[in-house]
């Protein structure tokens, strides 16, 4: 395959790239361009429910008319309505706080596994990954069972005498945080564990031999070395959480919706496709920086693995 002079080899190499490349261009890139276009259209009572529709038969005049009809009205509408702004802010807030919570819970877990006896590590690792393989929906559903007013959590709290009247857990932000932390925990633990596991134990030994207290060795050696894993885990959680739909929809309240829910309602309930598309474009703009950072890290990992 290295011999590029081999014509047949070069041709087959091109085919290897071309098939997945074209697939992704058609089913990933072009759809985004369509979203962008529709976000500049306006709603119509028609099939499809937006205007203008590009008509290739109309030729150049049709194309001109098409571009004239595009407008930014949906973006102006989103920017002027407090509903959407608060929705974006709420999503960012929930994503930021839950990423922090995930770090606080996930790091000790990853660290504990990485410090466990070698022969236990694969089993412990498997135990952390296993829930990820069971349905996401099931795991959220399991929490509805626990968090509802007559649910297990309140029964336990009442029995222990911690509370007198059962508090409402469902339809609160607390429930959303619990659901998110629960669902995303493996995504935080795995990258952190991967970096901690690769770490050379002798570095810590060297530090303690030179008189560094253990906590300080942790702070000065372990933590900086685990930073790539921490950043990867944080991005892997933060980005999808911002657009999360299922968890806030099933566990959260109806006071403030996260942006994923707003998009969903705009699309399925209000049938306002152009506004839904504009909401998606703005969401994507918010996430483009973390997505690019994540991509760079992945690419660098790939280069480092060579």
């Amino acid at each position: 395959m290295i011999g590029a002079t081999d014509k047949r080899g070069a041709w087959s190499a091109r085919a290897v790239v071309l098939v997945p490349y074209l697939w992704l261009v058609i089913f990933f890139l072009i759809p985004f361009l369509i979203v962008l276009k529709i976000s500049l259209s306006h709603t119509a009572i028609a099939q499809p429910p937006y205007e203008p529709v590009l008509d290739p038969a109309a030729g150049l005049e049709g194309l001109k008319a098409f571009f004239r009809a595009l407008s930014f009205e949906n973006y102006i509408f989103i920017a002027s309505d407090w509903l959407y702004l608060s929705s974006y802010l709420k999503s960012l807030e929930i994503a930021a706080v839950s990423t922090l919570l995930l770090l606080v819970i996930g790091f000790p877990l990853a660290y504990g596994i990485a410090r466990a006896p070698r022969r236990w590590q694969p089993a412990l690792f498997l135990l952390v990954v296993l829930p990820f393989w069971t349905s996401f929906l099931i795991r959220i559903y399991a929490w509805i069972n626990i968090l509802q007013r007559e649910g297990l959590l309140n029964q336990v709290l009442l029995a222990l005498g911690i509370v007198e009247t059962p508090p409402a857990w469902l339809s609160t932000d607390t429930a959303v945080y619990i659901g998110i932390v629960y669902s995303y925990l493996p995504f935080m633990v795995l990258p952190i564990y991967a970096t901690l596991e690769k770490m050379d134990d002798t570095l810590i030994e060297a530090a303690t031999d030179l008189g560094c207290p253990r906590w300080k060795a942790f702070w000065l050696v372990t933590l900086p070395l685990s930073l790539p894993g921490v950043v990867a885990g944080a991005l892997l959680c933060f980005i999808p959480i911002v657009g999360e739909f299922v968890i806030p929809d099933l566990l959260g309240g109806s006071q403030t919706m996260m942006i994923g829910q707003t998009l969903w309602t705009e699309f399925f309930a209000n049938k306002d496709w152009p506004v839904a598309a504009a909401v998606a474009v703005v969401l994507l703009c918010l996430l483009v920086v973390p997505i690019v950072i994540y991509q760079q890290m992945q690419a660098r990992d790939l280069a480092g693995g060579r």
Binding site: G106, V128, E244, W273
Partner: protein, 271 residues
């Protein structure tokens, strides 16, 4: 030296308890005789019996399974090609865009992917349903397959391929007889990952589905929105059992495989 400090033990134990307690509770309550999901009425399998009489639920399960098999297979082929392109072809024109399109779907919020695919299907005016979900799932899961296969391609010994080619084996045959068997475990885990992701997906399937193609997550979701029902506990338990058996079997198998290989090659090496 590794000492298990009480802090480490506690954080692992608490973390695992947090991960497993809800699932265990769900499984236990699926055997609850009482219709009230919060009151324990003794052991019973009545919800399983009712579940197997629920035709709509079984139909949805069958649709989901077929979608998952087809899309996971397509995703494995496409994802493997993409991994080979990324690892083996070095710099080619459009590589940056290509790797961008591979990594972006991994973290892209599902509402965006779902909406954009739906708008594509509407723009080209295809009937939405079974096949559009397959196209959507293939697109999403092939990227996960790529990542899995890629790491395997990076870690294995290329001299084996070079040896084959030096001995006059043509590239395609080298690929089929040397490379493919070596990366086969990654293909299997990639397929399983794609299969599970497809089984699990609610959001993208909701956007890209049409009349007549209700998947299990869509069905469960619409039931759950109406409240907790014991039948749902039962179907969740069955799904958990299937996945757990699969994973444990797979890991035992690969451990067995690895043990054999390690013994041949280097006794202390770890995966």
């Amino acid at each position: 030296m590794r000492r298990a400090s009480w802090f480490n033990v506690a954080s692992v134990a608490l973390g695992l308890a947090f991960l497993y307690l809800p699932i265990v509770i769900l499984v236990i309550f699926s055997f609850n005789a009482s219709r009230l999901v919060t009151v324990w009425g003794g052991w019973s399998t009545r919800w399983y019996v009712e579940l197997f009489q629920d035709r709509a639920m079984l139909e949805a399960a069958w649709v989901t399974l077929r979608i998952a098999v087809v899309s996971a297979t397509a995703a494995t082929v496409l994802g493997t090609l993409a991994a080979i392109a990324l690892v083996r072809l070095g710099r080619f024109r459009g590589r940056l865009l290509f790797s961008g399109m591979i990594y972006a779907p991994l973290v892209m919020p599902e509402v965006i992917t779902g909406l954009s695919l739906l708008l594509l299907f509407v723009a080209v005016d295809v009937d939405r349903g079974f096949w559009t979900i397959i196209l959507a799932h293939t697109t999403l899961t092939m990227c996960f397959v790529t990542v899995v296969v890629q790491s395997r391609l990076l870690s294995f010994d290329r001299s084996l391929e070079e040896a084959a080619m030096n001995l006059g084996c043509p590239p395609l045959k080298t690929f089929l007889t040397v490379t493919l068997p070596l990366i086969a475990p990654a293909l299997v885990s990639g397929w399983v990952l794609a299969f599970t992701l497809s089984l699990d997906d609610l959001v993208i399937a909701s956007f890209t589905t049409g009349p007549g193609a209700t998947t299990l997550p869509i069905r469960i979701y619409s039931e759950v929105r109406l409240g907790v029902k014991p039948e749902i506990n039962a179907i969740c338990t069955i799904m958990i059992a299937i996945v757990a058996t699969g994973i444990v079997a797979a890991s035992l198998l690969s451990k067995f495989h690895e043990l054999g290989r390690d013994r041949e090659a280097h006794p202390v090496a770890r995966a």
